[in-house]
């Protein structure tokens, strides 16, 4: 199972990939994650790769090879859509964050993203559901809930992996957010 997680630096894509890594470990599966630290984290476009299965070599997912792309932002969904294999699933948050060239008016934020995304796509209003759960920063957990349902993963084990990856004081909010995502 190859999952690419895309987002904007600061959105918390690293947490999501680490929860997936923990899930793999708890299920006795091999797993490799690849992250990007440093400059691009400052509000830039950021991706992490999660590979779960047997005999994994490369920690990187190539274009045309991902089973799933999870995008925490709509434009980032389109930017990395070509990483999906033909029947791959696109799960994306409908949140829009303007990149600097749009902010400064050099170009426009595309209005036709939905049409340009691959057929097998699922939008989740992760920001709204996270706010409903109690904190906009829990959008992570919403996306993980939605992913668990779409990929038919073990809900209890994923919930456990999530709970063990976050500070205890945030567990109630994230548990709710995870549930909202699962049922979205």
């Amino acid at each position: 199972m190859d999952i690419l997680i895309a987002g904007v630096g600061g959105q918390g894509t690293l947490l999501a990939s680490r929860v997936l890594g923990k899930y793999a470990l708890d299920n006795g599966l091999d797993c490799k994650l690849s992250e990007v630290h440093g400059m691009s984290q400052r509000g830039g476009s950021v991706i992490t790769f999660v590979r779960i299965g047997k005999d994994i070599y490369s920690p990187v997912i190539d274009t045309g090879c991902a089973d799933m792309v999870i995008a925490f932002e709509k434009l980032e969904a389109l930017r990395y859509a070509h990483y999906l294999k033909e029947d791959g699933i696109m799960l994306y948050s409908s949140q829009e964050i303007m990149p600097m060239p749009v902010v400064t008016g050099v170009c426009k934020y595309p209005t036709d993203i939905e049409e340009r995304l691959p057929k097998n796509k699922h939008a989740v209003d992760a920001l709204k559901l996270a706010e409903k759960a109690g904190n906009s920063k829990a959008a992570n957990s919403v996306m993980l809930g939605a992913l668990t349902k779409l990929m038919k993963l073990d809900k209890e084990k994923m919930r456990k992996a999530l709970m063990e990856s976050i500070p205890q004081k945030l567990s109630e909010i994230n548990e709710k957010a995870f549930e909202y995502g699962y049922n979205a």
């Binding site: 904007v8 680490r18 470990l25 690849s34 630290h37 400059m39 691009s40 749009v102 050099v106 595309p110």
Partner: protein
Amino acid sequence: MKKLLLGDFAVARGAYEAGVRVATAYPGTPSTEITEELSKYPEVYSEWSPNEKVAAEVAIGSSIHGARTIVSMKHVGLNVASDPLFTAAYTGVNGGLVFAVADDPSMFSSQNEQDTRLIARAANIPVLEPSDSAEAKEFTVLAFELSEKYDTPVILRLTTRVAHSQSMVELCDREEKELIPYEKNIGKYVMMPANAIKRHVAVEERLVKMSEDFNGMEINRAEYRSKELGIITAGGVYQYVREAVPEASVLKLGTVYPLPYEKIKEFAGKVKRCIVVEELEPHIEGLIKLHGINVEGKNIFGRQGEFSVNIIREKLTGKAPKTTKADVPARPPVLCAGCPHRGVFYTLKKMKLNVMGDIGCYTLGAIPPLGAIDTTVCMGASIGMAIGADKADPEAHKKTVAVIGDSTFVHSGITGLVDAVYNKANVTVIILDNRTTGMTGHQNNPANGKRITGEATYELDLTALCEAVGARSVTTVDPYDLKEFEKAVKNALEEEGASVIISKRPCVLLTKKLYKGFTVTDECKNCKACMKLGCPAISSTEEGVKIDISLCTECGLCQKVCKFGAIKSREDK
């Protein structure tokens, strides 16, 4: 116990298990996490040194006094540390000494793409290269053993993909290592000509011996499959090769310098076509060819960027998935909303100054709409380059400033300032003191009064330091105060000699506050003056300017540049 570990953490774990007592570093992506992780072990003394040269010297001293020691840095950090490194090759070690050096193919967070293996070769230092986290731990332990066995520093070379990928690692217990008693040995440790001439001989003999011994090492492993195609590779690239051409025979090298030539000759003789697949420079290929073994390599693969399964598959088999990248607006990294550097660059651009830049988050001041920075070369270069501008063109100083971060100034800016004063240059230096080493993820440094562990220590007084080296004036300003900041720059530019402005305000990410955020009221005339700030929280929409309250930190810069008083606190509205 098995654990999913980042490559850097695996190196730290390996060092811990190998009984390391001392760990030093200057932060640099992608190597920073090695020392951060080691600082959590109470058995290990760890430090952020002011720069890589000092880090290496502390490490050499510690090794000679009998402790297993690791010093970590990014590839360009090794340039700074190469002076001690080249001669430590001659002195050799006492306790095992490992240089963990992380290269950055594709430059995810670097100013160049240099290949550490070439520096190791020039310094006559052996290099091990792991391909995943499990090997990162295993090779680190082995590096200490080799260091003591052959009496040499050892380089553990990582790349970004190995340093910042996570994979499974089996954890072991720490093996306590007693200090190896220090014995005075002038012939070995005092590198003046008469002694160094003898040590150079030892260095050469050692390399020949290692090259022979490495033939028998398990980490140099031949995997025989197809007789048609044989690949020689090392490090993270091995993983791509296995996936791209699973049928190929592979010689996986764990020691990338010196090379095990007998083993390579044997492998090359058993396959019809032998290709070296390595990122960056043709290091392995070149050495193999020098030994008269016929291989291919850079005639097929380029020297730029990191490789991937697709790249290798396409080059070797002509097959790769056909995909089309959507044409979408780029999303470059930006200075955060509320970043104290924003006011600085907004003002410098407004004043139409030439800005000699440096290395740090603030390099992002070069990105539009700020576009304020003219040059970026290396750590500390801003000050020397401003002096150079003044010496080349006596008029230049009236419109030129150097900007340099607090940590970068301590790293290698101080000597530049000494030069400015000593050689009577007219320069204006702006120290961007945000109380942390920002870009690498907020490490403490000598100017913020905290050690790597968070323990309080003497806080370097930047003002006193600049005055002591002879700066004509040292002014401290809050960069949120645009008027005062501009006044300070004007005054400094008019002065003769070296003037220093300390732009002081903590990195906005350090203040964990919840903000209500500002809002744009009906008084907005859509003049877009605020857009010149390049703030990610402000955007121009068809309905006018908007502020994203989830990003806004109420820094107030937009209020200050708005001529119509249209931007208000959400409470005041």
